[in-house]
Amino acid sequence: MGLVRIGYGAAAGRLIGAGGKGWRRVTVLLSKFRRLFAGGDRLTPEQARRMRPRRKHGILSEPGEAGSTVLMAPLDAVEPMWSRLLSRRPESESVMKRFELEPVGAFVWELCDGKHTFGAIAQKLRERFKMNRLEAETALAAFLQTLGRRGLIELDLPRK
C-alpha cells in the first residue's frame, strides 16, 4: 500500500486572490468540510473558531522521520464507498492505508483531540511557528479539510 503525503504550510491556502479573501476563505473551507459530514449552512467566523476537530477512532500513529508522523488507518474507514464496492475485498480482510504528515501537520494532528477548538489550534500554531493570524487560520482550515476528505478526522460542531 502506497504512502500518501499530506502537506501543510507554505502555499496551503490562498489569503488574497482567486479562490477566496481572508476569513471568507477560512469559513468557506470549513463550511465545505462541515457539509461533507453533517450538511448545513455557511459558518460565521465565530462558529468556525469554536469547532473542535477530533481524530477518528481506529487510526494508529507512529513517529516518522525528522519529526513527521505516519498514520495508519483501516482502509474501510477512509475509503469511499464506491471504491469499496469495486474492490470486492472480503469483509474479513483488513487493509491499512498509510499517511505521512510532515512536522507541522503532525503538530496539528496531536491537537485534534476533540478538546481544542479551531481557534485554540490556530493560536498554538501562531505561538509555535510564529505565523500571523490569517495565515495560521487559512492554512489550518485547508489542512483540516484535507484530513476530513481523507476520512481521518471529524468535526464537533459548536452548539448554537
Partner: protein, 286 residues
C-alpha cells in the same frame, strides 16, 4: 546621515509597539493590532482600496485617489454617503454625520452596520484618503480609528517607501511599483518594476522547517532559480550573484536572503536588471 539611515531611523521612531503591526502599502502606512490582516488589496499608487480584517467584526478600510486639487472634501463625503445609503436601502435606516477637525473631516454612518472614518488630503503624496473603521452597531469604533489615524503616515521618506504586510517589511526605492503579487499562507510574493529593472520580494514562513533538511544555501538557490550563482555569507544574510547567462543580454541577477528567527521567516529580494540604483541593499530590509 544617508537616505537609507534616515529611512531606518524613521522606521525605528515610528516602529510598531507591542502587540501591534505596521501595515505599509502603496506609499502609506499605519499601525494596527497584530490580529488584523489585509484581506483585500486592489488598485495602484494612483487610486486603490485596501481592507484589513480583525479576528472579530471590526474592519479597516482605506481608499485613496491621487489628485492635484482635492476640491471640496465635503461634497466627496456626501457622495460617499449617497452610495452607502443606496446599499443600505431596504435593510435599515441610514444615518450619517460629519464634523471638521482642522484639515480632517471626521464622519460616521450607521445602518445595519456602522462606520467611523476620516477623509483628508495628504499633501505628502497628493492623495485624497478615506480611512474608515467599520463594525456592528454596538461596537466602539472611535478608539481604533484614533489609534490608526495617530500612526498614519503617507509619502516617501528619503526616497524610500515602506511595504509591510504579512511579516514582510521592506523599505524600497519610490520608483518601484507593484506589478504582481501572490498571497498564500506561508508565502508572500510581490513583484516590483521600474524602467529597465525588476525586483522580486518574497517572504516564507516556517523558516526553521524549510531549511532543516538541506540548509539555507541550497534552499535559496532552488527557490530563487540561481543554481550557478556565486554566494557569499555576510553578517546580515546570504548574497547570491549570477552573471549574465544564456541567452545573450540576459540581465544579471542579484539576490539577498535574510533569515529572521524571531518571526521564523525568510525574506528574499532578487533583482534583474542593469540599473545599480535598483540592486537590493541590506538596508532595504526594515
Amino acid at each position: 546621515m544617508s537616505g537609507a539611515e534616515a529611512a531606518r531611523s524613521v522606521a525605528r521612531a515610528s516602529g510598531p509597539r507591542n502587540g501591534r503591526e505596521r501595515f505599509g502599502w502603496q506609499g502609506f502606512q499605519f499601525e494596527h493590532p497584530d490580529d488584523w490582516a489585509p484581506v483585500t488589496l486592489s488598485g495602484g499608487r494612483h487610486a486603490g482600496y485596501a481592507r484589513l480584517a480583525s479576528s472579530g467584526p471590526l474592519a479597516c478600510h482605506v481608499r485613496w485617489e491621487r489628485t492635484r486639487n482635492p476640491g471640496d472634501l465635503e461634497s466627496r463625503l456626501r457622495g460617499y454617503f449617497v452610495c452607502l445609503e443606496k446599499q443600505a436601502k431596504g435593510r435599515a435606516l441610514f444615518e450619517a454625520s460629519f464634523e471638521r477637525e482642522s484639515d480632517v473631516l471626521l464622519y460616521r454612518w450607521r445602518a445595519d452596520a456602522q462606520g467611523r472614518g476620516a477623509l483628508f488630503f495628504s499633501g505628502a503624496c497628493s492623495r485624497v484618503i478615506f480611512l474608515e473603521i467599520s463594525g456592528r452597531p454596538k461596537d466602539s469604533l472611535l478608539g481604533p480609528l484614533r489609534e490608526v489615524l495617530r500612526s498614519f503616515r503617507s509619502g516617501a521618506s528619503h526616497g524610500r517607501v515602506l511595504w509591510s504586510l504579512y511579516g514582510m517589511r521592506l523599505w524600497l526605492p519610490e520608483a518601484l511599483q507593484v506589478k504582481g503579487s501572490r498571497f498564500r499562507s506561508g508565502h508572500t510574493q510581490l513583484d516590483f518594476r521600474t524602467r529597465g529593472a525588476r525586483v522580486e520580494a518574497q517572504r516564507w514562513a516556517f523558516a526553521k522547517q524549510l531549511v532543516a533538511k538541506h540548509g539555507l544555501e541550497p534552499w535559496a538557490r532552488a527557490v530563487l532559480d540561481m543554481d550557478g550563482a556565486h554566494t557569499a555569507l555576510e553578517p546580515q544574510g546570504l548574497r547570491l550573484r549570477s552573471a549574465s547567462a544564456w541567452p545573450p543580454f540576459t540581465p544579471p541577477k542579484l539576490a539577498l536572503v535574510r533569515v529572521e528567527p524571531d518571526r521564523n521567516q525568510i525574506v528574499t529580494l532578487r533583482s534583474l536588471g542593469r540599473d545599480p540604483g535598483i540592486e537590493p541593499q541590506w538596508d532595504w530590509f526594515g
